[in-house]
Symmetry: C2
Subunit: 338 residues, 2 copies
DNA sequence: CTGAAAGCGCTTACAG
DNA sequence: CTGAAAGCGCTTACAG
């Protein structure tokens, strides 16, 4: 592979000029610029980012940390971030914590501090105060998506409010026995979403004068399979007959619908189901849901990050207000059976 | 942030010794090593990978390129690769081509050549010969997962054979009118899987003396939604009554099953459906399928890459033979209706 | 607009 | 086992 010196000698200029001509930083005459570009092209020269980073302090690489990549929300955010960042010439380095506390810590305490990143985007993760301080010390922008990190710019939807809305929808249909699927399984360090959505559910229920018993708040890990099992357990329980499920994610709602069907129940005649997300497949299930737009969230986060790095200017700051959501009424909710 | 010099002066040794003590390369006495490590800990020192890369030529960063991250197979491979690599102290830089030919080329012709990567893993993508040559010039290992790149070590299952097996299963049940869902939609540059699976289908059909008409080979993009629509179109078509669907992926099989149900048909009484993948949700659908294990593929690819970089030794080479698959018989296939 | 030179923060032969 | 020094391949004040 040719280096900047090869390009310089072929173009008959200094390496400094090559650098300026190719990066666009600093003044170069149009003529020399053309000569240099031609020389670079002929040699198939690609600058070493590693050398460039060390010299300039900019890595043109952004880190993203998320709990998993196997669920719709996360893969959607990731895809949008990658697209936006690569489009701007940036690399994206991915860290998946996998809900493993120790591994999460290793990522925050070691990987993220290696000065390989110009910025880091944290998706629904909440670093500890110590980790936050460490990150602050490296002096690189930190940006959050979904879930709030104190003192950190965050791209998000109004979790509590949309959960409240979903619950209100069910209440307005006449439901009172509404079970919530998606309580945190363990301490909710990572998936703050969960607890906010549960909070919205509780708020709406209480506003309607209902205090849901503990059994109505069903823990699940946001996967379809676990939600299926939980829903099934409930539906066969003679002591507990909800008329509606509010699932904290569409993927869990799919599980609930499948469980009902497998037990010979009709949705929504026998039981109503509502989700949150706006997963494409929801349409096939006729799922009523509140759509959030993870791709929009990811791209907003990427753009905001690029803005923080001075690469672009933003008309408005996507971290200053909630991103929009949309109530999608389909066929999985109806008044409770008489 | 403290640098290697800070650590050196605090430990009372040279920077060379700090480097040796911390990286483990070269000889250092146990005593000095301990002193250095203590000093590093006290200062919260984390070496700059950027500087280290430039000096050593090793970046401890591996690139992975895939068409999408939004489908089960890809997210599963990705998660396993990330886990294995991060565990070994490596970073993972992700590139998503999004089925965009131009963008794909930009990644291969520019991003991958920036000397930021020690190796690259390409998942079901086939670089052009020119791109391959470029990559070869940077002298970094290239590894493929799924789909074969000439001259490149590849981790894969026997696509043709498992597709043949799925088809044979249907044939052995007595089906003859078997439609294949998952033909390539466009030229199959990226998703080579598709065509191999179709080839297996054709081979089995021909061995049974059946030449499937073109309409039996239904194109789809591997998403549930599109497969649903395609299956539905077929099932209402009075001129074309298959008794079984062989779907090239489980996610498409879910769509086919849902389409059948929505039309009031029973699976498998009215129509049989078989998939390929081993998606967790398959169990909820009672889907008969041939499981491949993307996590195993991802982790094999990561380990092989690490081996190529001299980080570890492998007992056996996972690219030398097909990885294993498993026939999973559930409830979506049965003899055709009389 | 262009060049010479210092420097980014490490690693690694080379000596000892 | 340890240190002094060169060097990795760029960028960027500083002069001109």
């Amino acid at each position: 592979m040719s280096s900047i010196r090869d390009v310089a000698s072929r173009a008959g200029v200094s390496v400094a000029t090559v650098s300026r001509a190719l990066t666009g930083r600093g003044k170069v005459s149009a003529a020399t610029k053309a000569t240099v570009q031609a020389a670079a092209r002929e040699l198939g020269y690609v600058a070493s980012v590693t050398a460039s980073s060390l010299a300039s302090g900019r890595t043109r690489n952004i880190g993203i940390v998320m709990p998993t990549v196997g669920r719709w929300y996360y893969s959607s955010v990731l895809q949008a971030v990658a697209s936006e960042l690569n489009g701007a010439g940036y690399d994206l380095t991915l860290y998946i914590t996998e809900n493993d506390e120790q591994f999460r810590h290793k990522i925050f305490a070691d990987f993220l501090l290696r000065k390989r990143l110009d910025a880091v985007i944290s998706v629904t993760l909440r670093p500890t105060d110590h980790e936050l301080r460490q990150l602050k010390k490296v002096g690189r922008p930190l940006l959050a998506v979904g879930g709030i990190i104190p003192g950190v710019a965050t791209v998000r939807v109004d979790e509590v409010s949309i959960a409240e809305l979903a619950t209100e929808h069910l209440l307005s249909l006449g439901h009172r026995d509404i079970a919530f699927i998606g309580s945190p399984e363990v301490v909710d360090a990572d998936f703050q979403l969960t607890s906010s959505r549960e909070r919205g559910y509780l708020r709406a229920m209480e506003a309607a004068g209902i205090t849901p018993p503990a059994e109505w708040r069903i823990s699940a890990d946001f996967t379809t399979a676990v939600a299926y099992q939980r829903a099934r357990n409930i539906l066969v329980n003679p002591r507990f007959k909800p008329t509606a499920f509010f699932c904290a994610s569409d993927e869990m709602a799919f599980g609930a619908i499948m469980a009902a069907r497998d037990l010979g129940l009709s949705v929504p005649q026998d039981i109503s189901v509502i989700g949150i997300d706006g997963h494409e497949i929801g349409e096939l299930f006729g799922l009523t849901t509140i759509a959030q737009f993870p791709a929009a969230q990811g791209s907003a986060a990427a753009l905001k990050t690029l803005a923080l790095l001075g690469e672009i200017e933003l008309e408005s700051d996507p971290t200053e207000s909630f991103l929009s959501t949309e109530f999608v009424a389909r066929f999985s909710t109806a008044p409770p059976p008489a």
